[in-house]
Amino acid sequence: MSIREPTPEPSNPLGLGGIEFIEYATSKPQEFGSLLQKMGFSAVARHRSREVLLYRQGSMNLIVNAHPDALPGLSSPGSTPALAAIALRVRDAAYAHRRALELGAWDMPTRASAMELNIPGIHGVGDSLVYFVDRHGDFSIYDVDFVPLAGADPGPPAIAGLHYFGVVQAILVDRTADWLDFYQSLFGFSVLPQGQYFGILPRGTLLESPCRTFYLQLIEPPPGSEEIHWDEGLVRLGLGARDIPAATRALQERGIAFVDRGTVQPSQKGALTQAYLGGVNFELVVSHLKP
């Protein structure tokens, strides 16, 4: 063992420090791009060699990958934008990757990454990936792979302080315990007590990242839904804001429609956008997190 071997504390074994970026895959990047712009994101850079765009809003980086082999060995991107990857900020990406593999994670397929840089990653739920990124701050991963778009503000401000809050993951029946083991042992997530929910969709099991900057919501199919086609995968991005009515209004003014039927009404706690482009939606969640 070398002297420089990291010696992380048990509660946050990887030195997790939030979401560096979220990646969507789609064969319709322009349509999705205009949806993202309505959601407050701006395109800020283009990949040097692939059909990949970097969007940004406040602290949020979002990558739209339309490269035909976006997920080699898996399926090509469909027209409905799909959550393809979560990139986690960690203290030491190589260490985080090595540790995950030692614990039984599956290495990601080679060249699956949107990046030219060798960003290590592992298989997550369904076809999704989890990347480990340790170059954030002054010298970022984007400097290597992306060319800034001419005239674009590299740091567009966030609408109503929007920031990454969490990701919703669909899982199969009786799979909650399996995925808890996955997120607890690989990353150090912890389970919030039953009944502690944010937002307007109080279902499933909430996991808090060890850095306490974002959440994962695991959702089994609701009882009585045997006829519904239900796959495991990342299904929705949650965006946090302090003032949900203000955020909802601002996005409505930009052309975003929110579900306003039944129990899913925009409220102080949260709001759910309608499903766009065949099934992609976003959830707003009242958030105590710092943007």
Partner: protein
Amino acid sequence: MNLDNFGMDTITLAGPLEAKLRAIQDAGFTQVMLSAADLVGHPGGEDAAVAAVRSSGLRVTGFQVLRDFEGLSGHLHAYKVDVAKAMLRMCRALGSEVLLACSSTSAHAVGDPESLIKDLQKLAMLAVPLDIRIAYEALSWGRHVNEFPQAAELVQRADRANLGLALDSFHIFANKTRLAALQEIDPAKVFLVQLSDFMWEEIRSPDDRIETARHYRVFPGEGVHSTRVAEMVRTLDEMGYRGDYSFEVFNDDYRQLPLPMVAERARLSVKWISGLVSRRSLPARRSGGAAAVP
């Protein structure tokens, strides 16, 4: 209990996979326990084997068998991880929710519990994204783990939702493990029960044990340990075990007899077992609070 609780095992039968599936189905079984050889030995390749299983409509009880996984290090461990991944992929392709993993017989395997637990946790983690449960079985000639209470302790300490036990009556009888120890196990942690018997009272040496296990097993009700089989099944039932049974019957004679004849013997064995535990098909009577719910 009835036929729906039992998977017949392809290793008992001779012939091509399709013929085995047909014989199993014709005897009235709705499940089949498959082995990797069914896939990789198929003349049409793995995909054809998977298609045959899926189109049969038989539910897959489980997939066997990952050997000698735990307790290795360095390149031996890396090699076994590759093997495990390939087994898990096949298991997934078949729609099997259970992969059987036998305790290691390797002379290169260490036996300290911490290492074994770490490896079992790793195997369970590999299985999570594929929605597969690992059923860990104490092989009676396992190097360090050869009785089910040892396997149960490792599984308990590893504490992974998708890691549980496979109990095989042969190995339990061969090592004369106390059946009373079953009662110390959480029934939810039993992922598979494999039943078989054999036709002599004593197994005199480890070699004799391996030889008997691989060539001379018979169906429950056909051997000389019927009382113990009955005790095992009743105990499991009273504990609340409601999972699957399979017939782990390796028998050279059965592999040279007509398939329908062997499958019929399996069916008669189910009938014999059902006579021991007939009330299982009425779980509402036994499940306490749930019984009140219509």
